[in-house]
């Protein structure tokens, strides 16, 4: 398959994360369930990758394996050349459900990440404010998460993930629980941030538009067992804005990716 060939293609770019022939089997009540099979992928430095696929295609499982929260049944994952055996601060995660500590204020949530890195006291506080300014929430530093909207919570979670200074950011449908308007707003903010610092991103979504607007490469996964079906290069130049969604290139890519995802969706329903 053309996609697989490209996916293991040697490039000059530095490989941040290498996923090498990963297979994951869950032993459930209804017997074995193969969630992932033969998944290989190189995530290059400064790359923005989006993964799309029908629910149940194992995209979250793959993210959890990269994060070190799950162990692969077979195969290995390497980050910066080292084998992944557990969680590590070089791999930051943003969860769909925000996962903010409700008993800590916004600022202290960000400080948690800094303190785990050994930054203490006043300095942690100052740095936390810097990250909150990045997501435009400095005003809400002393609020508790329950006082924030979903979009604001997710921005705090992103600030917290950045504060850990990971070399790759793993995002598990981070905007999936937000309304359409907030979602586009956060996409725009994330794009601006990425265009500035080019932090390597591995972003899971079920929204094809979101995948195309953000990513340099879109990975389409097939379901049961989850495997990489096709990799689509998104050649639309940055900076991208919401208006990019109106261009013919965007729509051509959207049709192409959408039909592939839809086919998989029908497969799952069978």
């Amino acid at each position: 398959m053309a996609g697989e060939a490209r996916n293991l293609k040697n490039t000059n770019e530095h490989v941040r994360v290498r996923i090498d022939n990963v297979r994951k089997v869950f032993n459930g009540r209804n017997g074995e369930m193969v969630a992932l099979n033969g998944v290989s992928l190189d995530i290059h430095d400064n790359e923005f990758i989006c993964v799309v696929g029908p629910s149940g295609c194992g995209k979250s499982t793959l993210l959890n394996i990269i994060a070190g929260l799950l162990e692969p049944t077979e195969g290995k994952v390497y980050c910066d050349g080292k084998e992944v055996t557990g969680t590590g601060t070089e791999r930051g995660v943003v969860f769909q459900q925000y996962a903010l500590f409700p008993w800590l204020t916004v600022k202290k949530n960000v400080m948690f990440a800094l303190e785990m890195r050994g930054v203490k006291g006043k300095q942690a506080e100052q740095e936390a404010m810097k990250y909150l300014e990045m997501v435009d929430l400095a005003k809400f530093a002393d609020h508790y998460p329950k006082e924030l909207s979903g979009g604001m919570k997710q921005r705090v979670a992103i600030a917290r993930a950045y504060a850990a200074e990971p070399s790759v950011l793993l995002m598990d449908e981070p905007f999936g629980a937000l309304d359409a308007q907030t979602r586009t707003q956060l996409q725009t903010e994330l794009l601006e941030t990425w265009e500035r610092d080019k932090k390597t991103c591995f972003f899971i979504t079920h929204d094809v538009d979101e995948a195309i607007i953000l990513a340099q490469r879109v990975i389409i996964m097939s379901a049961r067992p989850g495997r990489i079906k096709e990799i689509v290069d998104i050649d639309i130049p940055y900076p991208r804005t919401q208006e990019t969604k109106l261009t013919p290139e965007f729509n051509a890519l959207k049709n192409r990716i959408w039909s592939q995802v839809y086919q998989e969706y029908l497969e799952v329903r069978k």
Partner: protein, 263 residues
């Protein structure tokens, strides 16, 4: 939610403090009616007689003795119950074998009224302070253990994952995630435990105590002195509601970050 009827809106317009007063007056009225109906008047002597019995009990030199004796038993049993419940609950939540072995028995014993096993405790521990404390400890332990255990197993898994990917060690996760996430349940356990400690008092003091609110009620029963009996019952009630209010205030302060409020 209540329906927005005319009465509902009237109820909303009257301030809470006025409602407390109205509720108090209603109870006093009921009490007064009970005290004049011949059938109930012997069991419910009027307010004046009950208040007068404060003096009687003080002059007999038992009121403070009873109060302090009961408080010593309640507080010791309660504190002991909590000190045992906390680690047991955590062990149950963390280690499945511990959970599978202990939990069914906690549920089993929890449904037996303490009064039923008091004689066994007296046989084993003799009379005096010791069996009283043991009875209260058992009752408090059971309710607090179950409540705290529920709290520890219900800690949101994603929060633990979030801490772990930020580089938290097991110790960090325990101190900085599990402990604060469980705090609301611990406070609920503390509140429920206090209430159980008081409701177990009568059973605890039926172990041949020589003073105590519960013991005194039983002994006044033998001489048909209903005024001081009613006084003692009211004292237990006041103690209970005061402790509950204090703990609730602490709860509200310490867990104001919660999305959902208490039950």
């Amino acid at each position: 939610m209540e329906k927005k009827t005319k009465q509902g809106s009237l109820a909303d317009r009257i301030p809470a403090k006025v409602w407390v007063l109205l509720s108090f007056l209603a109870a006093m009225l009921l009490w007064w009616i009970l005290s004049i109906i011949p059938a109930t008047s012997r069991a419910f002597p009027n307010v004046v007689k009950v208040l007068a019995s404060i003096k009687t009990m003080i002059s007999r030199g038992v009121l403070w003795k009873d109060l302090s004796s009961s408080l010593i038993s309640v507080v010791s049993g309660y504190v002991l119950g909590f000190v045992i419940a906390l680690p047991v609950a955590i062990l149950m939540a963390w280690y499945k074998p511990v959970r599978y072995i202990i939990e069914p028995w906690i549920q089993f014993i929890r449904n037996i009224p303490p009064l039923a096993y008091v004689p066994l405790i007296v046989i084993a521990a003799g009379v005096g302070r010791r069996p009283q404390i043991i009875v209260i400890t058992i009752a408090c332990f059971l309710i607090m253990c179950v409540t705290i255990y529920q709290g520890v197993i219900n800690v949101d898994e994603t929060l633990i994952k979030a801490a772990r990917v930020l580089g938290a060690t097991d110790k960090d996760i325990f101190i900085r995630v599990i402990a604060p996430a469980t705090l609301p349940f611990i406070l609920t356990a503390i509140r429920l435990g206090a209430s159980v400690a008081l409701t177990t008092l009568i059973a605890a003091e039926s172990t041949g105590a020589n003073a105590g609110l519960g013991m005194r009620i039983r002994s006044l029963n033998n001489s048909f002195e209903s005024a001081p009996m009613l006084l003692y019952i009211i004292i237990i009630g006041i103690l209970g509601i005061t402790i509950e209010k204090l703990i609730k205030t602490a709860e509200r302060r310490l867990t104001s970050w919660q999305e959902k409020r208490e039950i």
